[in-house]
Amino acid sequence: VNANEAPNGDPSLHLVNPEARGAPTEEATGDPAALRRPDEREQAAIELMARVARGDEKAFEDLFRLFSPTVLGIVRRVLRDPAQSEEVTQEVFVEVWRTATRFDAQRGAVGSYISTLAHRRAVDRVRSEQAHTNRQDKVASETSTIGLDLVEGTVLDEVESDLIGRRVRSALETLTELQREAIELAYYRGYSYPQVAQLLDVPLGTVKTRIRDGMIRLRDQLGVNA
């Protein structure tokens, strides 16, 4: 019943192989176990959330450092506009702060909670802004205009997110083209599935099933316990 009960077993599964740092080619298609949510990190995130729930600002900063790159990344994918993306990222984290008191780890991973929140916010913003013009103009400027003064992550985080990036990309490659396109348009571009159907010129029902089939495949490829 609880999708979260990842086995608490072998912690070595969750460590980034030191060799992986220099060798991006080799392990990208390795076993999905290494991508399973690292239990210790999730445990740490849960503890941070509990401290945040008690009003601990320091813990909140740590939580921000941990998840803001993902939040900004996905929001920016959907919104494209850097300034708006930062605004939404801010909204998301303020919301996390407000609602941390009600977060229940039994019901989902911290990261999943936060990115669900982030994606939804971004999508809401896009859809409420029927002025698509704004967004289209920004398509070209996708390359980072972000300043150099960056929040520092640890090397491990970078390696790990790199690793996840590669695994996700190789998992996406196992989908049929229609599945992959439909999922990317929906998730990374924030389109509704009827809009996806229109863009891909396929019937609604087809898009519905392709998205679901593709997500099942991705989930299994990426070793998400469900």
Binding site: E86, T89, T99, Y113, S115, Y187, M215, V224
Partner: protein, 175 residues
């Protein structure tokens, strides 16, 4: 339409449904444990899709967030489980907490509840607040399991294994 509802788990987890269809699917989720589980797995998958596009965060953002956080009160923790079977009836006002209430970290036992105004927790996270509850079953129908879930699972599995063996024997003897 109803029979096709479960197909929407994919689009739903990617925030790709709107309007009436969204509401209908969320109603469907209330009754469909399979979809609920599926959505949760898809969301976790989607969060990996998000991590895959993570990008560096300008430090000014942290400062702005912290500045806002310092002036933003946190919600009180969820009220103790109520026996009332609540339906999602839209926005309701939250009980006003006394000023001295300290938010509690212990949210492990919170029951699914729905009296959060839509603006409090994003409505999409409704799914995160949905947990099958034996307690509710007990209250509603007097169902009171005597066997723990682990034992029950083991017994069920044994039963199916035995049954399967028995079936194989039948097939063998018939063949």
């Amino acid at each position: 339409m109803i029979t096709n509802d479960h197909l929407l788990a994919g689009p739903y987890a990617l925030d790709a449904i709107d309007g009436d269809e969204l509401n209908a699917f969320e109603d469907h989720l209330d009754d469909c444990a399979t979809c609920t589980l599926e959505v949760s797995g898809f969301r976790e998958t989607a969060s990996l899709l998000a991590q895959a596009v993570a990008q560096p965060v300008p430090s000014g953002l942290l400062n702005r967030v912290m500045a806002e956080v310092r002036t933003t009160p946190q919600l009180p923790p969820l009220p103790a489980p109520s026996t009332e079977v609540t339906a999602d009836t839209g926005p309701r006002s939250l009980p006003t907490p006394p000023n001295d209430v300290e938010p509690e970290a212990d949210h492990g036992h919170a029951e699914p509840e729905s009296d959060q105004p839509d603006n409090v927790v994003p409505f999409r996270s409704r799914i995160l607040t949905r947990t099958p509850s034996i307690k509710r079953m007990k209250e509603a129908f007097g169902f009171d399991p005597k066997i723990g879930i682990k034992d029950a699972l083991r017994k069920s599995i044994d039963f199916f294994v035995e049954e399967h063996k028995a079936l194989e024997k039948v097939v063998e003897t018939e063949g």
